[in-house]
Symmetry: C2
Subunit: 223 residues, 2 copies
Amino acid sequence: MAEVKLFRTWSSPFALRIVWALKLKDVPYDTIFEDLANKSSLLLQFNPVHKKVPVLVHNGKSVAESFVILEYIEETWKHNPLLPEDPYDRATARFWAKFGEEKVLLSIWEAFNSEGKEQEECIVKAKENLKYLEEELKGKKFFGGERIGFADIALGWLADYEGVFEEVASMKLIAEDEFPLLSEWKRTFADAPIIKENWPPRDKLVIKFQAIREASLLKKLGN
Amino acid sequence: MAEVKLFRTWSSPFALRIVWALKLKDVPYDTIFEDLANKSSLLLQFNPVHKKVPVLVHNGKSVAESFVILEYIEETWKHNPLLPEDPYDRATARFWAKFGEEKVLLSIWEAFNSEGKEQEECIVKAKENLKYLEEELKGKKFFGGERIGFADIALGWLADYEGVFEEVASMKLIAEDEFPLLSEWKRTFADAPIIKENWPPRDKLVIKFQAIREASLLKKLGN
């Protein structure tokens, strides 16, 4: 058994961040696949507060919350750094990671879980947020510059899951002509070594998110 | 003029984190007090994405988002560290900071902005979150151990603003008998040098948060 264990699910985009970070740093680890409808006692023991994945266990000690785990990985295995050296550049990476989580993900999720006029309004908001990312990519291959960094990993779900959200909710958010740089980044990131081989099967993601959207719309009808 | 400038308001608990961090590290800085109802063009220029305080400007470059700023301060001025050395202990501090923001603050804010049966339910949730903090303080003076650290600064609003919330919304969350360690931490933190001299005037906070609560309850009635 490796000294590093990752508790994840097959579909969690948050856990995928940890998969990418560990693989980009070539840290060997064991995977424990969780079923969140039937959580293992180990998961509850290692993440008693949130009871969620991802959880990283290193030498018997657990770390939860994907951004906290990313910082832990960066500080524990310093090679192939995810963050640049300069404090200002590090702050910039953390800023966009946080923005992606609190603004981009949230607004896209609201668009995904709505329909009709409500969805149209959510799409406008989501695009306003995406425009900041488009701007940030000017003159850069990745958010991290020439190579994949902290913000790319944080925003990586955009390169695959976002397309699933578009398909399932019949909406278009990141069109080539409106977001050329972000569209290019999506392709470059999704096809990069290590990233490419770790996406979950797209057909399974579609089924899962179809079920989530249906449940969410039904719940809104009930309100 | 100092090379460091802090954009804040007199009442923002998020900006107060940066005041504490800079003063704990003895970094000289200039303060620009903003009126959020009439934002300065400089604030909009330095934080075009969120248009909020706090913003730290260092040698002309701006950093926004209080946790991102704290990490920047920690990496730029390494003396009097806010984070411990060990990566696992650093992860623990970041975990509780994030938990304080996403769970504790949110649940207390919901209790503050509600009344009657709804408020009672919110108080139960808030206390569930507070119990994790009580547990974490076992055997420790501060969340950071013997001295004020990253998590203490992140949770610092609990030592003063939370009491204002209790008073304004006529509720009790952190009672001495239910949360003895957290109660003791509140006193110790609030009275610590540097922390103590930077609290905003309590009477002004009460007036401000009374207005916020009234507006919030009115809005709910309108829905």
